[in-house]
């Protein structure tokens, strides 16, 4: 069974409808379970209690990037194979990605505040996420601005392609930009830092939870988009007769 079969809207609606309840249940279970487990774990005396925000920050940051990659892949699929569901999936994913980025930024700032003494630092990682947020906003704004759906899908796909290259380029430019100001990455909220094993498993659980949350929201939003297109098509036909 080829994955391309799901490009058929009817089949997509049927399959996504079947998966959705499990995705929602799984998302709720993993996310809440992971968060509860993590927050109730006794504090590591070295890192204090604020490090527990990592259970929100790391999954959100991971999803923020993964969702953009997913948008890039679905945009390419649209451009090459003209699968309409693919284009709508990209459109549906963007706001989810933007919110994930916002969560990552907010939790990153909250995590850093005790360390830095301010609510924001132009740390390379946070700055890169801020730039990613700008790309998300631009992408969503373009979808909203163009009326013809074929043109909107094509233009946003091209924007996603060019934006991906520049998001990557900006990552390294920002690293270069901030290296000169602060020696080393001492202010980085890098999630790869040594984390005690007791936090690791709750973290994996919340990461799985956020992924399932994204999946559930994506399926709901894509299904809504498909229904919206059906409605538009019916209305257009009404006008012609």
């Amino acid at each position: 069974m080829s994955i391309w079969e799901y490009a058929n809207p009817v089949k997509f609606m049927r399959t996504s409808g079947a998966i959705l309840p499990f995705a929602v249940a799984g998302a709720a279970a993993c996310t809440l379970g992971g968060l509860l487990w993590g927050f109730l774990t006794p504090e590591d005396y070295k890192q204090g209690s604020t490090v527990k925000i990592v259970f929100l920050h790391v999954p959100a940051a991971m999803m923020a990037i993964n969702i953009w990659v997913m948008m890039l892949v679905t945009s390419l699929i649209w451009l090459v194979r003209r699968h309409h569901v693919s284009a709508l999936a990209a459109k549906a994913a963007a706001p989810i990605g933007a919110v994930m980025t916002l969560i990552a930024l907010a939790t990153g700032a909250i995590w850093g505040q005790p360390m830095w003494g301010t609510w924001w630092e132009w740390d390379p990682r946070l700055t890169s996420f801020l730039i990613l947020l700008l790309f998300y906003i631009g992408y969503m704004a373009l979808w909203a601005a163009v009326e013809d759906p074929d043109s909107a899908a094509d233009l946003t796909s091209v924007l996603c392609l060019v934006g991906s290259v520049f998001a990557l380029l900006s990552r390294y430019a920002v690293l270069f930009w901030n290296q000169g100001l602060h020696q080393g990455a001492s202010l980085s909220v890098a999630p790869g830092e040594r984390m005690s094993a007791v936090y690791r498993y709750p973290l994996y659980l919340t990461m799985a939870g956020f992924f399932l949350l994204f999946l559930a929201l994506l399926l709901i939003r894509t299904r809504t988009e498909i229904r919206r297109r059906r409605l538009a098509a019916l209305q257009a036909r009404e006008m012609r007769t």
Partner: protein, 209 residues
């Protein structure tokens, strides 16, 4: 020798098919006039033939580098003079003088006037003069005689006749009788795409209907 052959062409506008199953050929020296009520898709069809949008179905076969397109918007730059406008297009399409074109559309006296100062009819004549400087055989024209008075329409018809005699061809949509008796007429009504539930998908939204 056929300059243009269209097979079973279907075009869409706003996500719905307008006409389908259109077929015709155009050889050197022939002219074809498209007729049909407003909204049937004459402009869309001409734009598709010109290459500005892809057809929904069907095939277009055209000789290489044969086509030149002229529509309602003349593409004139007001800040440039008449001669400068024409010279630009002559250079883009591969050289050639503009004198004959100016002469043919009676623009000689206006050659150095800025294009912004022309009347609507004069601007339209300049737009048609542009066709002559492109030196291309296949003319695709969308309502070419809008804003022209009777004298200018007759002048334009003479220009088209000369073009056909010289081995060119013309495909145009026009309501006005140009007096080109040798031109065939293609009425698009029989090719109208069936509206309503039977309308076949053509646009993004239609893929979900």
């Amino acid at each position: 020798m056929s300059l243009l052959a269209v097979h079973d062409l279907a075009v869409a506008r706003g996500g719905l098919r307008t006409v389908e199953g259109v077929s015709f050929t155009l050889a050197a020296g022939e002219a074809l006039i498209l007729r049909g009520p407003n909204g049937i898709g004459k402009t869309t069809l001409l734009r598709t033939v010109a290459g500005l949008q892809p057809p929904v179905a069907g095939r277009i076969e055209m000789a290489e580098d044969a086509i030149t397109y002229a529509a309602h918007a003349d593409g004139l730059k007001g800040a440039l003079s008449v001669a400068e406008n024409l010279r630009f297009w002559a250079q883009v399409f591969g050289g050639g003088g503009i004198g004959d074109a100016l002469q043919a559309m009676d623009l000689g006296a206006l050659a150095d006037r800025p294009a912004a100062a022309l009347s609507a009819g004069q601007k339209r004549r300049l737009g048609l003069a542009r066709l002559l400087v492109t030196g291309r055989p296949l003319w695709v024209l969308d309502e070419p005689t809008v804003s022209l008075d009777a004298v200018s329409v007759a002048r334009f018809a003479a220009v088209v006749r000369a073009h056909l005699a010289g081995g060119g061809a013309a495909l145009m949509a026009t309501h006005i009788d140009l007096g080109l008796d040798e031109a065939r007429v293609l009425d698009l009504m029989p090719y109208r795409a069936q509206p309503g539930k039977a309308a076949r998908p053509a646009g993004f939204n239609e893929a979900f209907a």
